[in-house]
C-alpha cells in the first residue's frame, strides 16, 4: 500500500499532501522526481498543486511532457488510481487523461478561499462520503475555470463523472456559488474508467480541524480502502 507524489519543478503542495497522507493518515508515502522514468510499485499516484514550470506557456502544459508522465499515463491506462489536485488537474487535462481545460477564473484574479463542495459519492475516490454531502475544502487558483465542449459536458453528466460541484453551505448549486465560472459548477471530475480524478480544490489542505477542517482526508481514505479491498 503505497502512495507516490510526483514533484515537478514549481510544485508546492507535495509536502502538504505528504503530511496529510503519511503523518495524519499513516499511509506509506513517497516523493517521485519528475525526471524519473518509472513509477515503482505504487497503489496511488498524486499529481499535487503548485505552479509546475511556473505555469509558463499554459498551466500544466510543460509538466505533461516531463519524463515521469509517460509512466503515469501508462499507470492510469492500466487502471491505476491517479489524483490530480489543482495544477495536477491541469496537468491531467494537458496529458489527455481527463477531458476539457482549465482557463482563467471568471474574475481574472487568483482566488484563495474555503469552498463548499457538493459530493457525488459514486466514485472510488468519494464512496466514504455520504451522497450529496456538502464538504469544505480550500481552493487556491488563478485558472480553475473548467470548460469543455457541449458533447463532453453532456457525457460527464450522463456518465455521472462530475464528482464535486461548487455549492452553497446547504448544497445549492448555482451561479452565486460558483467561484471561478466553471461550467455546471464543476470542481472535480473522473475519467470514463473512474480511476483518474482531477479536482481544483485542495483536499490536502483540509486535513485537520486545527487548520479549519479535515473534510479532504476522506478522498484519500476512500481510494486507499478500495485499493486494499482490491
Amino acid at each position: 500500500m503505497k502512495i507516490g507524489i510526483v514533484v515537478f519543478p514549481g510544485t508546492w503542495s507535495e509536502s502538504d499532501t505528504f503530511y496529510a497522507t503519511k503523518d495524519i493518515l499513516g499511509f506509506q508515502t513517497e516523493y517521485i522526481w519528475h525526471k524519473d522514468q518509472k513509477l515503482n510499485n505504487l497503489d496511488l499516484v498524486v499529481l499535487p498543486g503548485g505552479f509546475s514550470y511556473g505555469d509558463y506557456l499554459r498551466t500544466g502544459a510543460i509538466a505533461s511532457f516531463s519524463p515521469i508522465m509517460e509512466d503515469v499515463i501508462k499507470f492510469a491506462n492500466n487502471g491505476g488510481p491517479v489524483i490530480g489536485i489543482c495544477n495536477g488537474f491541469q496537468i491531467l487535462c494537458e496529458s489527455k487523461l481527463l477531458p476539457g481545460i482549465l482557463i482563467r477564473n471568471k474574475n481574472l484574479s487568483f482566488i484563495c478561499e474555503w469552498s463548499n463542495l457538493l459530493v457525488n459519492n459514486q466514485s472510488k475516490f468519494t464512496d466514504e462520503y455520504q451522497n450529496k454531502e456538502v464538504i469544505k475544502i480550500p481552493i487556491s487558483h488563478g485558472e480553475g475555470n473548467y470548460q469543455a465542449d457541449r458533447y463532453t459536458i453532456d457525457q460527464l453528466e450522463d456518465e455521472n463523472r462530475i464528482i464535486f460541484r461548487y455549492c452553497s453551505n446547504d448544497g445549492t448549486v448555482n451561479e452565486i456559488n460558483n467561484p471561478n465560472g466553471s461550467i455546471n459548477n464543476i470542481a472535480g471530475i473522473t475519467n470514463k474508467a473512474g480511476n483518474v480524478l482531477g479536482m481544483m480544490p485542495h483536499p490536502e489542505k483540509a486535513s485537520e480541524k486545527l487548520i479549519g477542517g479535515d473534510d479532504g482526508l476522506t478522498i484519500f481514505k476512500s481510494i486507499m480502502k478500495k485499493v486494499s479491498d482490491g
Partner: protein
C-alpha cells in the same frame, strides 16, 4: 574630475566624492565609482540611520542574532527551532512599475530568509496608497496587489496577513513593505560569510542582465520626483526561478561544504559579495567574465551593479563544490564560480586576466555617517491644536448614525478580503487563524507551539507626534498579538520616511527611534531586523512618518484563541482599559478626523506601563480560557471595534450606557490601551478575580441584531453591508 551629472546619477554628493578620494588616496576609476555609488547609497550604507540603529534594543533572552549582523534576525522558539524574520520595502520600484515592483519586493525578502537556511513559512505585507478615486492610485494599488499575488502564490508560502491603508500623504509615493518569516533548526542557521581564504564564491540562479542598474543608488536613495525616468531601474521577477532557488538552496544548506549564503539584492553582486567578504574578515577576488550574463557586451560595471533578480551567492570550500553543483543541476539551476576569498582586506576585480580594480573593503563599506541631530538642530515641529467641531459635543442621534455609516464606507475600515483572497493563505497547512483578524496564527508542526504574527503601523498618529506614534505602533503590534493569547517576543521594523537631509525628516527619524527604544524596553521585545526606506517624497509633499512593525508572539498549541467577534447572543461584553469611552483628544490623528475634518492635528498619548498591564491581563484571561472573543480598539475607535465584533457572526449588542454629549470623541476617539471582549456570564467571577476592578468593566450583552445604547439604536445591517462590500473601487 567627474561631472556633477554622474555624481547625481549615483546619488553621491561632492563632499562624499572628495571623501572617497581622500580615503583612497587617488581618484576612483569608473567601476570603482559605481561600487562606491552602490555601497555608499542610503539603501546599502544606511548613512542617515546607522547611528540611530546602533541604539536600538535588538537583544533579548530569545534572540540568536543581532540586527544587521545577518540577512535577517533570528529568535529561538525552543525545541531547537528558530524563527527568522524581516521586513523589506519596495516603495520606489512599486511607484514606477507597480506589478514588478511589488513582485520583486516579495522575491527579495524571501531570499533574505532562505539565505539563512530557513524555510519561508509566511509572508505578510503592509500597503499604503492614496485615494482610490484617482485612476493612477487605483492602477498602482491594483498592480501592487496583483504583483504580490502573482509572485507570492507561485512560491508556496502562505500570505497570512498585513494591512492596506489609504491616506493622501501617499499620493505618488505608495508604500509596499513585505515581511517574510522563516523556520530553521536553531543550530543550523546559515551565515552570510566565508570561512577561510580559498573558499570559492559561486553565483546561483538567474543570468545577470542590464536590469536594475542603479536601483539602490538611483531609485531608493533619491527624492521620488527625480526618479520617474528610472523605469529601467526596476527589475522583472521570475517567481518560478525563485521557487527553484528556495528548494535548491535549502537542499545545499544541509551540505557541510557549504559555508555561507547571501542574497543578491540591492546593488547586486557588488553589495552581496563585498558584504560577505567584510563579514568574513577576508579579501575577495572576482572575475566578472565568469558571471553568466543575459546579453553580450555587458561591461564589468554593468555586471557588478546589475540588480537582476533570483540570484544567490554562496561560499563553498575550495575543491568541494561537486555535490553542490550536482544538487543545483538537479534543479536545473545555473551556477558558476566567479571568485575566491583571499587573504587580506581588498576586493580585487578582474575581467579574465585584465586587472580592473583593487580597493580596500573597509573603505567601500564605511560610508560617512550623518548625525541627524545636526540636521534637525533647531527644528520645531509645527504642532496644530485639535479643533472640535461644536456639533461633536452635543448629542445628536442622526449625526451619530450618519457618521457611523460613513466610517464603515471608508476604504481604511472595510473588509480587506478582496486583497487577501488573492493570496494563498492555506499552503503549508499551518494556518490556524487566517487573515482578517488582529493577528494571524500558525502552528509549528512537531512542536507544542503556535505563533501569532501581525504587520502594521498607524502613520497618522506618527504624523501628529513621531515619538508617541512609534510607541503606539509597537504597543498596538503587541496588543494585536496579545488578543490572540500569544506573548510578543520579537519585532521587525520597516521604516518609511521622507528626506533625512531635511530638518523635518531627520527630526521624525530621531523621534521614532526614541519611541521605539522606550517601548521595546517596556515590552521586552527586541527589534531583530529591519529596513529603512528614506526619501519617500512625492511631487508635492513627504509621506507621514510610517514605521511599520512586524510582530511575532508565541503560545501553547492548546490555547483557545478567542474569536475576533462575538459568538452567541447572551454573552456579556466587557472593556479592558481605563475607560470605555474615548475622548475628544483621542480624535487627534484619528480616522474620524481624516474623514470628516480632513486634517491632521492634536495631541496623542499612551501610558506604556498601563498598556503592558492590559496586555498581560488579556493573555491571562485567554490562558484561563475565560473569554470568547477579543478585539483591539484602534482605528475608528470604540464604535468601530464594537460593530466589527458584531459583524463576524452577524450579531448585535446592547450597551448599558448612555452615549455622552461629546459623542464624537467617545465613540470614535482612538485612545489607546483598550480591548473589547466577550465572555460567558458564568465566568464573570473568575474574570473579576484576575482583573483589577479599575482596569475593566462589563458594558453590555451580545444580542441578535443592531447596536443599542441607552439613548440610541443603530441598525447594524447597513454597516455590515458596506463593510463586506469592500473597497470603493475593486482592487
Amino acid at each position: 574630475m567627474v561631472s556633477e551629472e554622474i555624481l547625481k546619477e549615483l546619488a553621491l554628493t561632492l563632499s562624499e566624492y572628495n571623501l572617497i578620494i581622500e580615503k583612497l588616496g587617488r581618484e576612483p576609476n569608473e567601476l570603482e565609482l559605481g561600487l562606491f555609488g552602490a555601497l555608499w547609497s542610503e539603501h546599502c550604507g544606511y548613512k542617515h540611520t546607522k547611528k540611530l540603529l546602533r541604539t536600538i534594543k535588538s537583544k533579548s533572552k530569545y534572540t540568536l542574532t543581532e540586527a544587521g549582523e545577518e540577512n535577517a534576525g533570528a529568535i529561538n522558539i525552543g525545541d531547537n527551532k528558530a524563527i527568522v524574520m524581516k521586513i523589506e520595502s519596495h516603495n520606489h520600484p512599486s511607484a514606477v512599475e507597480p506589478y514588478e515592483g511589488a513582485a520583486t519586493g516579495v522575491g527579495g525578502i524571501v531570499r533574505d530568509i532562505f539565505a539563512m537556511g530557513a524555510r519561508p513559512i509566511a509572508l505578510l505585507n503592509s500597503l499604503r496608497f492614496s485615494d482610490l478615486s484617482n485612476d493612477r492610485n487605483m492602477q498602482i494599488a491594483k498592480g501592487v496587489v496583483q504583483g504580490i499575488s502573482g509572485y507570492g502564490n507561485c512560491l508556496g508560502i502562505p500570505n497570512i496577513g498585513g494591512e492596506c491603508y489609504f491616506d493622501e500623504s501617499y499620493e505618488n509615493n505608495p508604500l509596499v513593505n513585505a515581511m517574510c518569516v522563516g523556520l530553521v533548526e536553531a543550530d543550523s542557521i546559515l551565515s552570510a560569510k566565508a570561512e577561510s581564504p580559498g573558499d570559492l564564491l559561486i553565483i546561483i540562479g538567474s543570468e545577470t542582465g542590464r536590469d536594475g542598474i542603479h536601483g539602490a543608488s538611483g531609485l531608493a536613495s533619491q527624492n521620488f520626483e527625480e526618479t520617474i525616468e528610472l523605469r529601467s531601474a526596476v527589475q522583472v521577477g521570475n517567481p518560478f526561478l525563485e521557487k527553484l532557488l528556495i528548494e535548491a538552496c535549502l537542499e545545499i544548506s544541509q551540505l557541510d561544504e557549504l559555508v555561507g549564503m547571501q542574497d543578491c539584492g540591492a546593488a547586486g553582486i557588488t553589495s552581496a559579495a563585498i558584504e560577505m567578504a567584510e563579514r568574513s574578515n577576508l579579501g575577495l577576488r572576482i572575475d566578472v567574465s565568469k558571471v553568466p550574463v543575459r546579453e553580450k557586451g555587458m561591461t564589468p560595471y554593468e555586471i557588478m551593479l546589475s540588480e537582476s533578480q533570483e540570484r544567490m551567492l554562496i561560499a563553498v570550500r575550495n575543491n568541494e563544490y561537486k555535490n553542490i553543483f550536482n544538487t543545483l543541476e538537479k534543479w536545473d539551476l545555473k551556477c558558476e564560480i566567479i571568485g575566491e576569498f583571499i587573504e587580506g582586506n581588498d576586493v580585487e576585480i578582474y575581467n579574465q586576466e585584465e586587472f580592473l580594480s583593487k580597493t580596500p573593503i573597509k573603505i567601500l563599506t564605511s560610508p560617512p555617517e550623518y548625525d541627524l541631530n545636526i540636521i534637525s538642530a533647531g527644528y520645531a515641529p509645527n504642532k496644530k491644536k485639535i479643533t472640535i467641531n461644536k456639533s461633536y459635543s452635543s448629542f445628536n442621534g442622526n449625526m451619530i448614525k450618519d457618521f457611523t455609516q460613513r466610517i464603515f464606507e471608508s476604504d481604511n475600515i472595510v473588509s480587506k478580503k478582496s486583497i487577501y483572497n488573492k493570496y494563498d493563505h492555506h499552503v503549508q497547512t499551518n494556518t490556524v487563524v487566517e487573515p482578517g483578524s488582529d493577528a494571524s496564527v500558525l502552528r509549528i508542526k512537531n512542536t507544542d507551539k503556535m505563533l501569532a504574527f501581525s504587520c502594521d503601523g498607524n502613520s497618522r498618529l506618527c504624523g501628529v507626534d513621531p515619538k508617541l506614534g512609534a510607541e503606539i505602533n509597537i504597543a498596538e503590534a503587541c496588543r494585536n498579538i496579545s488578543v490572540m493569547g500569544a506573548t510578543p517576543i520579537g519585532l521587525t521594523d520597516g521604516l518609511n520616511f521622507g528626506d533625512p537631509t531635511k530638518p523635518k525628516g531627520a527630526y521624525e527619524l530621531i523621534e521614532t527611534f526614541n519611541g521605539f527604544n522606550h517601548a521595546c524596553e517596556i515590552f521586552d521585545t527586541p527589534i531583530i531586523s529591519g529596513n529603512a526606506s528614506l526619501f519617500n517624497q512625492g511631487h508635492t509633499s513627504s509621506i507621514n512618518p510610517t514605521p511599520i512593525i512586524g510582530a511575532m508572539g508565541i503560545m501553547n498549541k492548546n490555547t483557545n484563541i478567542p474569536s475576533k467577534g462575538f459568538i452567541v447572543p447572551g454573552h456579556k461584553i466587557g472593556i479592558l482599559g481605563k475607560n470605555l469611552w474615548g475622548t475628544d483628544l483621542g480624535l487627534s490623528g484619528s480616522e474620524f478626523q481624516r474623514i470628516f475634518d480632513k486634517e491632521l492635528s492634536g495631541e496623542i498619548s499612551i501610558d506604556l506601563e498601563f498598556e503592558k498591564v492590559i496586555q498581560e491581563s488579556i493573555r491571562k484571561l485567554i490562558a484561563e480560557n475565560l473569554i470568547k472573543s477579543a478585539h483591539d480598539i484602534s482605528l475608528g475607535g470604540f464604535m468601530t471595534a464594537l460593530v466589527l465584533s458584531c459583524e463576524k457572526n452577524k450579531l448585535g449588542a446592547e450597551i448599558e450606557k448612555v452615549v455622552p454629549e461629546s459623542w464624537a470623541g467617545a465613540l470614535f476617539g482612538e485612545d489607546q490601551s483598550r480591548i473589547i471582549f466577550s465572555y460567558d456570564v458564568k465566568d464573570k467571577n473568575k474574570i473579576s478575580k484576575i482583573l483589577n476592578k479599575i482596569h475593566w468593566s462589563e458594558i453590555g450583552t451580545v444580542t441578535k441584531k443592531n447596536i443599542k445604547f441607552k439613548n440610541i439604536l443603530i441598525e447594524s445591517d447597513p454597516m455590515f453591508l458596506s463593510y463586506n462590500k469592500g473597497f470603493s473601487r475593486d482592487i
